[in-house]
C-alpha cells in the first residue's frame, strides 16, 4: 500500500506536559530577516511550537513590527524563553511577565554562563527550574549533555529535557551522541535536542538516537534559503524518527550480497 506520508506521524505524536503535537520539530524565531520570512519558514517547517523571547517594548517606535502580528499565538504554541537571564530570580521574573502577556505556563528555561560558548550554568539552571516549578510553570529545560544533571532536572519535575547537541548557534551537529543516547535511555519525559543542529542530517541523527524532538533556530534562519531549509528540517525530523522506530540493521564487518547466490547461471 502506498504510504500517504501521514499515517505514521499522525499516530506517533509528541506529548509534552499533557499537550500533544504532530510535529517533533520546534523552531526559534530569532535571527530571521523579517517576521514575514519567519512566518513562511514556520509554515514550511510544519512546526507547531515556537520559542519566543521577552523584551522591553520599543517606546520610541510603537509602530515597529510585532511578532504576534505575523505569527499568532492562536495558531502556534508559544514557548517563552529566558535568554539573557543569568540567575533563577531573573528567569522567574521574565517568565512571570511572559505568563501575564500570553497566559501560558509552558516555558523554556535557559540559564547561560559565558557568552563565548553559551553553555548552560547547570547549578543555576537546576535552582531556577525548582523556583519555576514551585511557581506553577511547566518547564522545558535547556541543559548540557550531562546525563547526571538531566536526571536531576527530571526528578525535580521538568516536563522536557533539552540537551544541547553543540553550542548555541554553532551548527556543529551532535557532538556527543553517546551522552544524548544515555539521556534518552534514562529519561521518562521527552528529550529534545536543543541547539547545535547545522543541517538536515544533524536533525536526523538526533532523532535516530531516539530523541523525541529537535529544537533549532540558526540552522534555518541563517541558511541561504531559510524557507527551503525549514522544509528540509521537517523531512529530516520525520525521516530520523521513522528510522529510529523502524530499527536500523546491525552494522557488519564484511559485505553481504543483496542478490541471492543460488541459481547463478
Amino acid at each position: 500500500m502506498p504510504d500517504d506520508g501521514k499515517s505514521i506521524s499522525e499516530a506517533d505524536t509528541l506529548r509534552v506536559a499533557g499537550r500533544e503535537f504532530n510535529s517533533r520539530l520546534i523552531i526559534g524565531t530569532g535571527k530571521y530577516e523579517s517576521y514575514a520570512q519567519n512566518a513562511d519558514a514556520l509554515r514550511a517547517s510544519g512546526a507547531e511550537i515556537i520559542t519566543v523571547a521577552v523584551r522591553r517594548v520599543n517606546l520610541t517606535n510603537p509602530d515597529e513590527p510585532m511578532l504576534v502580528d505575523h505569527i499568532s499565538p492562536d495558531d502556534y504554541t508559544f514557548l517563552p524563553n529566558t535568554a539573557g537571564c543569568f540567575t533563577g530570580e531573573d528567569a522567574v521574573r521574565t517568565l512571570r511577565l511572559a505568563r501575564e502577556a500570553g497566559g501560558w505556563d509552558l516555558v523554556k528555561l535557559e540559564v547561560l554562563s559565558d557568552p563565548k560558548h553559551l553553555y548552560p550554568d547547570m547549578a543555576e539552571t537546576l535552582r531556577a527550574a525548582e523556583m519555576l516549578i514551585k511557581d506553577g510553570f511547566q518547564v522545558m529545560v535547556y541543559c548540557s549533555d550531562d546525563p547526571v544533571y538531566a536526571k536531576k532536572l527530571e526528578e525535580i519535575g521538568c516536563c522536557a529535557i533539552m540537551p544541547l547537541g553543540a553550542p548555541i548557534g554553532s551548527g556543529l551537529g551532535i557532538q556527543n551522541p553517546v551522552n544524548i543516547r544515555l539521556i534518552v535511555e534514562e529519561a521518562k519525559v521527552p528529550v529534545i535536542v536543543d541547539a547545535g543542529v547545522g543541517t538536515a542530517s544533524d536533525a536526523a541523527i538526533a532523532m535516530e538516537l531516539g530523541c523525541d524532538g529537535v529544537l533549532m533556530n540558526t540552522a534555518i534562519a541563517e541558511a541561504k534559503e531559510p524557507v527551503r531549509m525549514a522544509r528540509a528540517m521537517k523531512h529530516a525530523v520525520i525521516a530520523g524518527r521513522e528510522a529510529y522506530l523502524a530499527g536500523r540493521m546491525p552494522k557488519k564487518k564484511y559485505a553481504d550480497p543483496s542478490s541471492p547466490l543460488a541459481g547463478l547461471i
Binding site: T29, R55, P62, N81
Partner: protein, 66 residues
C-alpha cells in the same frame, strides 16, 4: 511626574493609571505585560493601578528568540 519607564526616566501626566499610561504611549494593551516596581500588574488591575512618582515600570512583549 517622573517615572522610570523601561529603564529611562520619563515625564508622564500626574494621576495616570496603567491603562492610561498604555493609551498615552499608544501601546496595544493586549500584546504586552506590565511590571510595576518588580511586581506584575495583571491586566484586570490596569484601571485601578495608579502610578506614583518614581515608579519603575517595565512594559514587555514577545519578540523573536531561540
Amino acid at each position: 511626574m517622573q517615572i522610570m519607564l523601561n529603564g529611562d526616566s520619563s515625564d508622564v501626566p500626574d494621576g495616570l493609571n496603567v491603562e492610561g499610561l498604555l493609551a498615552h504611549l499608544e501601546i496595544p494593551l493586549r500584546k504586552v505585560a506590565v511590571e510595576r516596581n518588580l511586581e506584575i500588574v495583571p491586566k484586570s488591575r490596569y484601571a485601578d493601578t495608579l502610578l506614583q512618582a518614581e515608579d519603575r515600570i517595565e512594559i514587555v512583549h514577545f519578540i523573536g528568540g531561540g
